[in-house]
Point group: C2
Chain length 201, copies 2
């Protein structure tokens, strides 16, 4: 994908409009107002707010998976914690609180909108797959417990990340606290040696 895609400006305008107006209230006019493009250029690309928001979710998923795939680390443990950072640190950026709120509103569309739901499934699966891959790699390398259920643990970590994001919006609780608790969870439940966990006690 080119960095100069004709829709990049539209995606950025959508981001800003969602932050400013929220998902429920945002209109095509609000999004056009955030853009340098003419309204006719807008309607040339997207014929409804719904189509535009779906394209926005596709774009967001692409950035999200790129961010997850860019996580580096010497060991499976480092890569696992790197994924947690990628998910929970971005949620902790306070300038993004409005955007996280719009994302939570969009999650609430899952039951009512099949096209939204398909994208929400993609996000959920993208994160779960990355967790599962690094967990399985850690089991294979002997860094993680031989009896670790990589799929179940990956699924649990996705649930915890969702919970941290929801509480961050609903009650303003810092996702950084969950990040720290999860680091201890990894030390005591995922790593093959529990020397670290023992040292903490």
């Amino acid at each position: 994908m080119s960095d100069e895609s004709p829709t990049d400006d539209i995606m950025e305008a959508t981001y800003r409009a969602l932050c400013r107006h929220g998902y429920a209230d945002v209109t095509m006019e609000d999004i056009a107002a955030e853009s340098e493009k003419s309204k006719s250029a807008f309607h040339y690309h997207y014929d409804s707010k719904h189509a535009l928001l779906l394209a926005f979710l596709d774009d967001l998923l692409e950035s999200f998976t790129a961010r997850l795939d860019a996580v580096e680390g010497e060991t499976p443990r480092d890569r696992l914690l790197g994924i947690l950072d990628a998910v929970l640190e971005s949620s902790a950026e306070s300038p993004n609180r409005e955007f996280k709120t719009a994302v939570l509103e969009m999650k609430a569309q899952g039951p009512y909108d099949e096209a939204f739901r398909a994208r929400l499934d993609d996000f959920d699966r993208a994160l779960r797959d990355r967790f599962a891959a690094v967990l399985a790699a850690g089991v294979d390398s002997g860094d993680f417990r031989a009896d670790l259920d990589a799929e179940e643990t990956a699924d649990f970590l996705v649930t915890v990340c969702n919970g941290a994001q929801t509480r961050s919006v609903a009650v303003g609780r810092s996702t950084e606290r969950t990040r720290r608790t999860l680091e201890r969870y990894v030390e005591s439940n995922v790593l093959a040696t529990d020397s670290f966990a023992e040292a903490e006690r």
Copy 2:
């Protein structure tokens, strides 16, 4: 509180209207349409949709805490799992999917509405306090690990419950799976003896 409070019918009508129309779209007229009361009786009690929804959240919090406080169990472990059941089983009832969705929409109001936010804080704290109390009791009785951080663990469990509820709405994932994973978490991370966890391996 009397079982025949004049507002009980209004609360039930609000519940049905939220299930039918969702939080963002529901109107006072929708709620009145679900009620046997006259519209004027409605406006006698509540002068706006906002005031009515706040009263509804207060009512919901009262039921929620009553449900948590009704949890029984011989041991701290049983009571802890009983709280998880109370939170996650109710979320798994499929007829309630519409309501869970409305609740998620209301959570997304946290950043924008101080009065909503105060109620969301109350829900969060009510659950966290119940978890913390049973965890502390289990540490005192020797059922749970002596080194358990009751406050941190309680907070983590609230995050996990929020995540299970969010994923249930967004991607239709059963909260029952989280319930089972949390039971294993309790066995391996909370209980003083890890004989159960060892037997599972």
